[in-house]
């Protein structure tokens, strides 16, 4: 018996293996009943007026598992949606039924999620038990049979022997209670992998920084800021057992290596300008042990700025630098961080500048989103095999062909960062870079990882979306697994499913940054159904929107942007049309109202927001670099953050904040947020102040007639006319204290709200705050109004118009 568990609606007493016959009978009854036949869930929403924004923060539809679905009644057996989210929480039994609903079936998986505040750590299990045939890891959904001597695999139904150590501890010679094992209680567990799961000793964290120091980069002041940022992050780089290694290569028309002898404080610069054949200038002391060479590294990084201050070299030998880094890492593997501010012009991976202007907004635009040559792509594939990953950081606005160079990160599980308005003299931009980049370096990455998704019989993983290299049909190779990166997969139903439940198990084998080989396993169980209503009413709109936008951006790169937008709209139309013909009385003929299950009420709005998002937006004013970076974000963000705030921004009014907003809740310590507003310009009143936050940027909209008291409390300014327009470093007058400074309550609350909003994005971003005044810079106002997804703009209709279009097309049967 597990102490502390709340009462479970299970008839069976805990502590005993469930009886198979009873289990079957119950599930039979269950499937006859149809999942979730209670009336509340059949609510149908009418699509008109404003989208119900509150639905964005709702939990996904309940996964209604039959009683006795698990072998132990544990509240943790249901897989948390943050780890793995299915688009359908009731799975149709046949492909025919799935096709009838038109709903996309797939998973959005975040296998390497970090621990949120207030969340329990993932339990760790030291012995691994797996099914002999299908290699499924033991999980809460297996059944014990033959009096508990064998366990029946929930994927392939094979009976396996229960290992002795389940009930008996041979070390202490005592009986054990198998029912408290974490792997039978928790859907997400981490196994410590024994030797069989290693091909070599676990690798240390290794980072090679390739820093652009050409003229373009020096002009922005990038080398100095990069040096300082890495210097400040040195203590945060995961280095538990002092094994972490770093190396630095500065790149202009030649390669600058830095040699530091152990215990010497003086770094030596070795320059190679003959780039015909790449060789390392010294066999040793280039790849530096972070602990032993600490002083030398610090000295080197602090001199980064002065060393290249007067560099006028204009070339960029990125590809020779990568080849050198590859040689340096050799068999060790590791991460290469590429920081670029100009176009690579030297070596095999030389990139020709592409004229961009005239192709924007035309069908040829997608060409600019694709890599120009295959060099970077095939290099990334080769590197993925030797466990080398890339992160690419693009700084400044010089043409850099982000589409080509970011392939490095795309195929090795890395990240892409893009700072178009970076300049060392702009404080908020420098702060943003420093915060985001040092957080990224401090992240506890997983190394030499592979990810496999297993599913019940009859289900097949069709195609995958995200940053990885697909090594075989069901194995994603991730030389580095970045925390909180998500991977999406399309699932196909190959054969009719007969069982009352289906299972998906994700296993991520990785080396943790502390040097341990581990397997993180998460198991998701979903009920199956033959009832089309059940499928519709248990669809998860956030997961659907996330999967659809990932597929759309993938299509935008592979085919055309226009095709991607059409496909996205058409899919939405099909889903609403299918619901109308299959599940409502007015199955044919015209209706004045659009009906949709309550679970999907936001789908048209989310589609519209995706169409208006930078990644897919039509028009000729989005530079390809920006587009590629946002496409990459869409592909890697988990469903929750990808949809909200990255696609659908959050907006709050600050002039009428509830008193407790922005303050930490006394019990949970979580900062409370004010009620969110709809994304429409109608509510922007001239006397108000509003905050719009999309994860990477935040906009403070200040009305023309905002009261002086408001301005004073928010920004310490006497009058609204004295507030500057544009980027500001948002002040914190309380200096990080727990209570507001006298007279600056609003400032304190807003700082609290912003902190909470960043926390909701796992602190991935440090948004720059733009002050956007009602009567201020029209360009800035336009940038902000792009995020008001309910309104009409040049790229897409307003929400109401969009609904009318959908209704007319459905009434005409035109889909």
């Amino acid at each position: 018996m597990v102490p502390g568990y709340p009462a479970q609606p299970v008839s069976q007493a805990p502590g005993y293996p469930p009886q198979q016959a009873q289990m079957d009978a119950v599930s039979q009854q269950f499937s006859n009943m149809g999942v979730g036949s209670n009336a509340q869930e059949y609510q149908i929403a009418l699509l008109s007026g404003k989208p119900v924004m509150a639905a964005l923060d709702e939990q996904p539809p309940v996964i209604k598992l039959p009683p006795n679905a698990t072998c132990v009644p544990s509240p943790n057996a249901i897989c948390p949606p943050q780890h793995k989210r299915s688009t359908l929480n009731a799975v149709p039994k046949t492909d025919k039924l799935l096709k009838k609903t038109k709903l996309p079936f797939g998973l959005v998986i975040t296998p390497f999620k970090t621990q949120d505040p207030g969340e329990e750590p993932i339990p760790i299990v030291s012995e691994i038990v797996r099914c002999r045939r299908c290699r499924t890891y033991i999980n809460p959904f297996v059944q014990f049979v033959e009096g508990g001597r064998r366990w029946k695999c929930n994927m392939c139904s094979l009976s396996n022997d229960v290992p002795l150590q389940f009930d008996y501890d041979s070390a202490t010679q005592t009986q054990k209670n198998r029912w408290i094992r974490p792997d039978l209680n928790y859907s997400v567990v981490e196994f410590i992998a024994p030797l069989e799961y290693m091909v070599r000793p676990p690798m240390p964290p290794v980072y090679v920084f390739i820093i652009d120091v050409s003229y373009a980069s020096v002009q922005l002041g990038a080398p100095g800021v990069i040096g300082k940022t890495i210097l400040s992050a040195l203590d945060r780089i995961p280095n538990v057992d002092n094994r972490a290694k770093v190396a630095f290569i500065a790149v202009d028309a030649s390669l600058h290596f830095f040699q530091v002898r152990p215990n010497s404080t003086e770094p030596q610069q070795l320059v190679i300008s003959d780039l015909e054949e790449i060789f390392l200038p010294s066999p040793t002391d280039l790849l530096l042990n972070l602990h032993e060479c600490r002083e030398g590294i610090e000295c080197l990084l602090s001199r980064m700025e002065s060393m290249f201050k007067s560099n006028h070299s204009v070339g960029n030998a990125l590809s020779p630098a990568i080849q050198a880094a590859q040689k340096m890492l050799g068999t060790l593997g590791g991460k290469i961080v590429v920081l670029q501010a100009s176009l690579p012009t030297i070596g095999e991976g030389k990139i020709e500048p592409r004229p961009e202007g005239k192709d924007l907004g035309t069908p040829r635009e997608s060409e600019l989103l694709r890599p120009q040559n295959n060099w970077y792509k095939s290099l990334a594939a080769d590197c993925s095999r030797i466990q080398i990953a890339f992160d690419t950081v693009f700084i400044g606005q010089q043409p850099m062909d982000v589409a080509t160079v970011s392939c490095l990160a795309h195929y090795t599980g890395g990240s892409v960062f893009h700072y178009p308005s970076f300049m060392a003299t702009r404080k908020p931009e420098v702060e943003r870079f420093t915060h985001e980049f040092s957080n990224h370096l401090a992240a506890h990455v997983g190394l030499e990882a592979v990810l496999r998704i297993r599913a019940s019989k009859g289900l097949r993983m069709a195609s995958y979306y995200g940053n990885f290299f697909l090594r075989s049909l069901d194995l994603l190779a991730l030389p580095n697994v970045t925390p909180n990166h998500s991977y999406a997969v399309d699932v196909e139903i190959d054969e009719t499913i007969t069982s009352p439940m289906v299972y998906f198990q994700t296993a991520l084998l990785h080396t943790s940054s502390t040097g341990e080989r581990r397997i993180r396993v998460s198991t998701l169980a979903l009920p199956t159904t033959e009832n089309i209503h059940t499928v519709f009413h248990h669809a998860d709109q956030i997961a659907i929107a996330s999967l659809m936008s990932k597929k759309a951006v993938d299509r935008a790169v592979e085919a055309k942007l226009e095709d991607a937008r059409d496909a996205l709209q058409y899919k939405t139309l099909e889903i609403i049309g299918a619901f109308k013909t299959e599940c409502t009385q007015s199955s044919s003929g015209a209706t004045t109202q659009l009906q949709i299950p309550r679970a999907l009420q936001l789908l048209p709005f989310l589609t519209l927001a995706s169409l208006k998002h930078t990644s897919l937006r039509s028009g000729n004013n989005i530079p390809p670099a920006l587009r590629v970076a946002s496409i990459n974000n869409i592909l890697t963000l988990p469903a929750e953050q990808g949809v909200q705030p990255y696609t659908v921004a959050r907006m709050y009014s600050l002039h009428d904040l509830p008193p407790q907003a922005g303050y930490a809740d006394e019990n949970t310590g979580i900062i409370e947020l004010p009620p969110r507003l709809g994304l429409s310009a109608d509510i922007l009143s001239p006397y108000g102040v509003f905050l719009l936050h999309n994860g990477c940027d935040s906009f403070l909209w200040i009305g023309r007639d905002a009261s002086p008291a408001l301005c004073k409390s928010l920004l310490d300014v006497q009058d609204v006319r004295m507030i500057p327009n544009g980027v500001i470093a948002f002040p914190d007058f309380s200096n990080g204290a727990d209570s507001p400074a006298q007279g600056f309550e609003l400032n304190f609350q807003v700082n609290g709200i912003m902190r909470r909003l960043n926390q909701l994005c796992h602190n991935l971003w440090k948004p720059v705050t733009y002050i956007c005044k009602e009567d201020g810079d029209p360009m800035l106002r336009m940038t902000m109004t792009q995020w008001l997804s309910e309104d009409m703009d040049t790229s897409a209709p307003s929400y109401q118009q969009f609904l009318n279009q959908l209704r007319d097309k459905i009434n005409r049967g035109n889909f």
């Binding site: 295959n374 792509k377 095939s378 990334a380 594939a381 080769d382 095999r385 195929y411 195609s463 290299f469 697909l470 090594r471 075989s472 049909l473 194995l475």
Partner: protein
């Protein structure tokens, strides 16, 4: 033996080799599907044979054109056209990062190639026999043996 007959003997041998090549491609792609080989090795392996295969096929096409064997030339024309289009669009090579996405297409293409080379093989065999028989029955030939 005339030039034409010699050409058909050569073509027969080449068609045989190409047929083997196409079968090898199919086997490799099937191996990839069954996870016996990883996509990087597959791409490296197959890409070395892509251009030689195209060159061999183009060579046959050109020689048929020069000798004036119109039927054989026409038989080869579609594949030459297909290859030229692929080379122009730079799509002829296998891409390790995309190969799973395009796997069904690659397999279909190679099955068609197997069938094509098989047809070619028997057509060349037939043509070779016809040419040799014609040669041995022409008076001209008798004159030589005389």
């Amino acid at each position: 033996m005339s030039l034409t007959a010699f050409l058909y003997i050569l073509a027969l041998i080449m068609a045989g080799v190409l047929l083997f090549g196409a079968v090898y491609f199919v086997i490799m792609l099937t191996d990839l599907e069954c996870d016996y080989i990883n996509p990087i090795d597959l791409a490296n392996n197959l890409n070395t044979y892509v251009m030689p295969e195209m060159a061999a096929q183009l060579f046959l096409f050109v020689t048929f054109l020069l000798v004036g064997e119109w039927m054989s030339m026409l038989l080869n024309l579609p594949l030459v056209g297909w290859n030229v289009v692929k080379v122009i669009n730079a799509r002829q090579f296998y891409d390790a990062t995309e190969v799973f996405r395009t796997l069904p297409k690659h397999k279909r293409e190679n099955f068609v190639k197997v069938a094509f080379y098989l047809v070619c093989f028997f057509y060349y065999l037939y043509s070779m026999i016809i040419t040799l028989v014609n040669e041995s029955t022409t008076p001209d030939h008798q004159h030589v043996s005389f």
